[in-house]
């Protein structure tokens, strides 16, 4: 597959395995085997310049690991990630590629843990400028920081304060200013609003959208909250136990979800419109990722699973609705879902 003209980021069969074995001595004495956790398994997607790709899933599905692989905080176990044709894998260790580091930035979930409490805001935001040697001289740097703080809706005078003097939402604005300081083009946002109250979340989401319009930014937006992802994303990928089970543009995914897991997630959203439609809570929980079920990892919770699902891992295939989906039932046309709003499941 050759990258399309405007593909900015390409993730191809990315995998990340963590060795969570007990210590060597325990293992030898206890005759235990090595224990490998496949946090991300054969994940592929493209992100086009200027778009927002949302990634949703429950805790432990590997979405944060994908984020960290992209910015180079983890090294890939298999597969490849390229950013504008450059290999991100080289970013993880050593000095890496300076341009890449500048263009790819990350916003973390916890604005209390991601800012150094002993640094003034001006130093926090100026750090990427200094590290990348983007500007010469303190005066130019401070002027740039002032402009950045104003851009994210803070006052230039706030630069002299410490992080503890800001609320959660303001801290997240500081994180965004820091990410933009190196003239980033691509922001990986890992649950950027999950720690915030809903009215503050609205402020941050609005700011992120305004910045995207103004600066032509591209986002990978990771969240467990489907409503938030629906608001920000153009396309959405759904992850389950380290794999992408469905990826489609927003309208398609919400109108005609294909994978039973996607459908389950949509059904689980509390119904704020109070339409009175009954929710069917899905039985079961996410299995232990150390011992994932064979075949399709969703099969123990799936009402449509058959023998093939229990044995064979489904791959992402083009769905009749236009997205891609990894489900034998959909591929075989065993499962035929009515559009989601009708709220009726049909099995043929």
């Amino acid at each position: 597959m050759t990258p399309a003209r405007d593909t900015l980021l390409q993730v191809a069969h990315a995998g990340k395995t963590f060795d969570v074995s007990p210590p060597w001595l325990t293992r030898v004495l206890g005759r235990q085997h090595r224990l490998l956790l496949h946090a991300v398994d054969d994940v592929s997607f493209d992100i086009l310049r200027g778009e927002t790709l949302g990634l949703v899933g429950e805790s432990g599905c590997g979405k944060s690991t994908v984020a960290r692989l992209i910015v180079g905080l983890y090294r890939l176990s298999s597969g490849a990630i390229t950013y504008a044709g450059m290999d991100v894998g080289t970013l993880a260790y050593g000095r890496g590629n300076r341009t890449l580091r500048r263009k790819l930035q990350m916003i973390f979930q916890d604005p209390y843990a991601s800012l150094n409490p002993r640094w003034r805001v001006v130093d926090i935001v100026a750090e990427p400028i200094r590290a990348q040697r983007l500007l010469r001289g303190r005066r130019a740097t401070v002027a740039r920081v002032d402009a950045l703080l104003t851009q994210v809706g803070l006052a230039a005078a706030d630069g002299h304060k410490y992080p503890h003097q800001f609320s959660g939402g303001q801290r997240q604005r500081i994180s965004i200013a820091r990410a933009l300081a190196s003239e980033a083009e691509f922001l990986v946002c890992d649950e950027p609003t999950s720690a915030l109250d809903v009215s503050v979340q609205a402020q941050v989401l609005n700011l992120m959208r305004d910045l995207q319009r103004a600066l032509g930014l591209t986002y990978l937006f990771i969240s467990h909250n489907l409503a938030v992802v629906h608001h920000v994303a153009d396309r959405i990928g759904v992850m389950y136990l380290g794999r992408i089970v469905e990826l489609a543009d927003k309208a398609t995914l919400f109108a005609t979800p294909q994978h039973p897991y996607t459908r389950m997630l949509l059904d689980a959203i509390p119904d704020i419109a109070m339409s009175g439609k009954a929710r069917t809570p899905v039985a079961g929980e996410v299995p232990n990722p150390l011992a994932p079920p064979p075949g399709c990892t969703f099969h123990p919770r799936c009402p449509y699973a058959n023998e093939r699902c229990r044995v064979e891992v489904p791959l992402l295939k083009r769905a009749p609705t236009g997205g891609v989906v990894a489900c034998h039932g959909i591929e075989e046309r065993r499962i035929n879902f009515a559009p989601h709003d009708a709220g009726v499941l049909k099995e043929t």
Binding site: E58, S59, S167, G169, Q170, D197, V198, S199, V200, Q201, A202, Q203, L205, N206, R209, H224, N225, L226, A227, V228, H230, H231, F254, M264, L265, L266, D267, A268, I269, P270, D271, I272, A273, M274, R279, P281, V282, A283, E285, V286
Partner: protein, 325 residues
Amino acid sequence: MTQALLDVRHLRIEFPTRRGILTAVDDVSFEIAPGEVLGVVGESGAGKSLTGAAIIGLLEPPGRVAAGEILLDGMRIDRLSHDEMRRIRGRRIGAIFQDPLASLDPLYSIGHQLVETIRTHLPLSESAARARAIDLLQEVGIPAAARRIGHYPHQFSGGMRQRVVIALALAAQPRLIIADEPTTALDVSIQSQIITLLKRLCRDHGTAVMLITHDMGVIAETADRVAVMYAGRIVEIGPVSAVIRAPKHPYTIGLMGSIPSLVGDREHLVQIDGSMPRLTAIPAGCPFHPRCSRVFDRCLHERPDLIDAGASRAACWLYAAGDRT
């Protein structure tokens, strides 16, 4: 009208500090009828959890109930001694907290903890209490309850642990449960399981619930009435459908608009500028006035009480008769 199960009147919670007294909850009044689910919603620091803690007598010092009264079945419970309160807690008011791991003792099996709770409050023998514990676990949907009863909290997943906590809260068949963010720590699919379970159990047992949460979606699905809190006060209270479909207080209107929705495609969410005031600097007049788009003169000086506004009541001068400017 039947007597309220819980009646909170003009509750004020204060924290004495070196720099003076902070008022965290100010003049909060509400009632919960038997079997009713009252949702209490608000952002962090609004005072919703403190209100819940005051009712079950678990306010951490130096926090204290400075004024007002709390009545359970017509009896004042805010002035009870430590021992008297212990007999009410668990027996007549159950509690469910956000983090199920923190609510369970990691050193004892869940069976031990359930039996202890049951025998503290009910005159049952060890074996009868154990049988009841197994029934409870089955009722909250724990598979193979008879086997699982010997397991320790770490052997359960987050969702299963919260089920155990619910079983504990129901163990002595209280008539009221204070549930403080019971689903916040859980994934969305597990959250819907727990909410469905809580609703069913309370309907079956006729238990009233004070459901404290920041999640309007959970309130919409569960509550009969909802109280919206802001800066230590109730700004709006009413039937859940009225508050959600036709909010009256400008804060509630903003709050509802700021929730991303699956319906429609908006470029921007409604945004309430600024943030909730710190307790040290609660503005005079209506505490929401610096952020309010419909502020007028009276809001700056006079604090509004709850005023009838359509089907609900809102603490907003906009609804004072003949006073609109």
